[in-house]
C-alpha cells in the first residue's frame, strides 16, 4: 500500500511542477472542439448523437498526451530501472499509473466538458447528472487499456505516433458505447434507456483492467 500511495504522490508532484502535459491536454481538446465546429458548418443543426461524438473525439485526442507522458517520465534518467529493481509488484505500478491517468483525464474533463456545453449547448436538448457516471466509466475504460498500451509505445522508437495507432482501433467499441449513451442522454431519454450501454462500458473497463493487471509485468520489464 505504501508503494501504491508513494507512486501516485510522486506522479502527481511531478505533474504539478511540469504543467505542460495538463495544459496541452486541455488545449488539444479546445482545438478539436473548434475544428469540429468548422466541419459542421455555420448554423447547421446536429443530432444529439453527433454532439456526443464531438465531445468524445475531443476527449479521446486530449487523453493521448496525458497517457504518453505518465509513462515516459519513468524513462528519463532510467527511473524505470529503479522501479524494476525494487520489490514493488508490476501490478501495483499498473494500478498506480492507471489511477494517475484517471485523475489527469478527469481533471482535464472538468474544463473540456463545460467548455463543450458552452460551445455546443444549443445542440444539447437535455442534461442530466448521470453524465458524470458516463464520464467516469469512459475514463476507466480508456485509462485501463491506455495505461497498458502507453507502456508499449514508451518502449518503441515512435512513442507519440504509435500510441493513437495502437490505442484507437482497440477502443472503438468503448467510444461507440459512450457516444450512444451520451447521445441518448443529450436527447432527453430516461436513464433506463441507455443503462445497457453503460453496463457494456463498465464491462470493457473491467476486461481491460484485468488484461493490464496481468500483462503490464511483461511490458514494464521490456522498457
Amino acid at each position: 500500500m505504501g508503494a501504491f500511495v508513494g507512486l501516485i504522490k510522486k506522479d502527481l508532484t511531478v505533474a504539478l511542477r511540469r504543467k505542460e502535459t495538463f495544459v496541452s491536454m486541455v488545449f488539444f481538446a479546445i482545438l478539436i472542439l473548434f475544428i469540429m465546429n468548422m466541419a459542421i458548418g455555420m448554423g447547421e443543426k446536429i443530432s444529439p448523437d453527433m454532439a456526443a461524438g464531438i465531445l468524445w473525439v475531443a476527449v479521446l485526442f486530449s487523453s493521448i498526451s496525458g497517457l504518453g507522458s505518465t509513462f515516459s517520465m519513468e524513462k528519463t534518467n532510467r527511473c524505470i530501472d529503479g522501479l524494476l529493481i525494487s520489490p514493488v509488484h508490476s501490478a501495483t505500478v499498473f494500478l498506480a499509473k492507471m489511477t494517475v491517468n484517471l485523475a489527469f483525464l478527469s481533471l482535464a474533463e472538468m474544463i473540456i466538458v463545460p467548455l463543450f456545453l458552452v460551445l455546443y449547448g444549443n445542440h444539447v436538448q437535455s442534461l442530466h447528472l448521470s453524465l458524470l457516471l458516463i464520464i467516469l466509466l469512459l475514463n476507466l475504460g480508456l485509462t485501463s487499456i491506455g495505461t497498458l498500451i502507453s507502456g508499449i509505445t514508451a518502449g518503441s522508437r515512435r512513442n507519440d505516433v504509435l500510441l493513437p495507432i495502437l490505442l484507437f482501433p482497440v477502443i472503438t467499441p468503448l467510444i461507440a458505447f459512450t457516444i450512444k449513451a451520451t447521445g441518448a442522454l443529450f436527447a432527453g431519454a430516461p436513464f433506463q434507456e441507455y443503462a445497457p450501454w453503460l453496463k457494456l462500458t463498465a464491462a470493457f473497463a473491467l476486461i481491460f483492467s484485468t488484461a493490464g493487471y496481468f500483462l503490464f509485468e511483461h511490458v514494464l520489464r521490456e522498457n
Binding site: 495507432i165 482501433p169 482497440v170 461507440a176 457494456l200 488484461a211 500483462l215 511483461h218
Partner: protein, 225 residues
Amino acid sequence: MSRIRPIGLLSSVSIALFALSIYYVLLVVPVEREMGIVQKIFYLHVPMAITGFIFFFLAFLFSIFYLKRQNRKWDIFAASSVEIGLLLTTLVLITGSIWARPIWNTWWTWDPRLTATFILWLIYSAYLILRLSVDNEGKRAVFCAVMAIVGFVDVPIVFLSARIWRSIHPVVVKTRSIAIEPKMGIALLLFMAAFISLGAILLWLRTSLSIFEGKLLSLEKQGGN
C-alpha cells in the same frame, strides 16, 4: 530434400481442394435465384472470413505461449499468423465490396459485420506497424504478444458493439437470409478446407523463412565480432 516433402504433399492437397471447390461452385451448385451469379462470391467470402478469424485466434494462442516460454519460435508463429489472418481479412473486405456493389448498390456500407471486420483489420494492421517500430527483437516479441492478446480479447466486443450500433439505426439492409441448401453447404465446406490448407502452407513457409532469417542474422552477428 526430405524436408521439402510434407509441404509438397500439403501443397498438392491444397491445389486439388481449390480445383475441386471451384469446379463444384461453378458447375454443380445452382445459381441463387434472387442475387444471381454474384452470390457465388459468398463461397469464397465466408470461408476466408472464418479462416482469417482462426488465424487471429492462433496468433492469440502463440502469443500466450511466447509470454510463458520466451521462445522465439512462438513469436514467429504469432507474427506469421497475424499476417495470414490480415491477408484473408483484406480479401474478405474486397470480396464483400464486390458482392455489395450489385446487391446493396454501393461498394461500402457501415453494416455491422463490415464495420467489425474493418475494425479487426485496423487492430491487426496496427500490430504489424508495431512490429516495424521496435528494433530490439526480444522487446518487439513481448510488445507484439501483448498487443495480439489485447486485440483478440477485443474481437467479441468489437462485433457486439457493431451489432448494437446498428440496432439503433433504421435497418437499411435486410439480413441476408440464404436458406443453405445441402449443395451450398458442401461448397462452403470445400472452400473452408481449401483455405485452411492454404493458410497452413503459408504459415509453414512464412515461419521457416523467419527462422532462417534469424539464423542468418545470428551467424552474421557471430562473424562480425
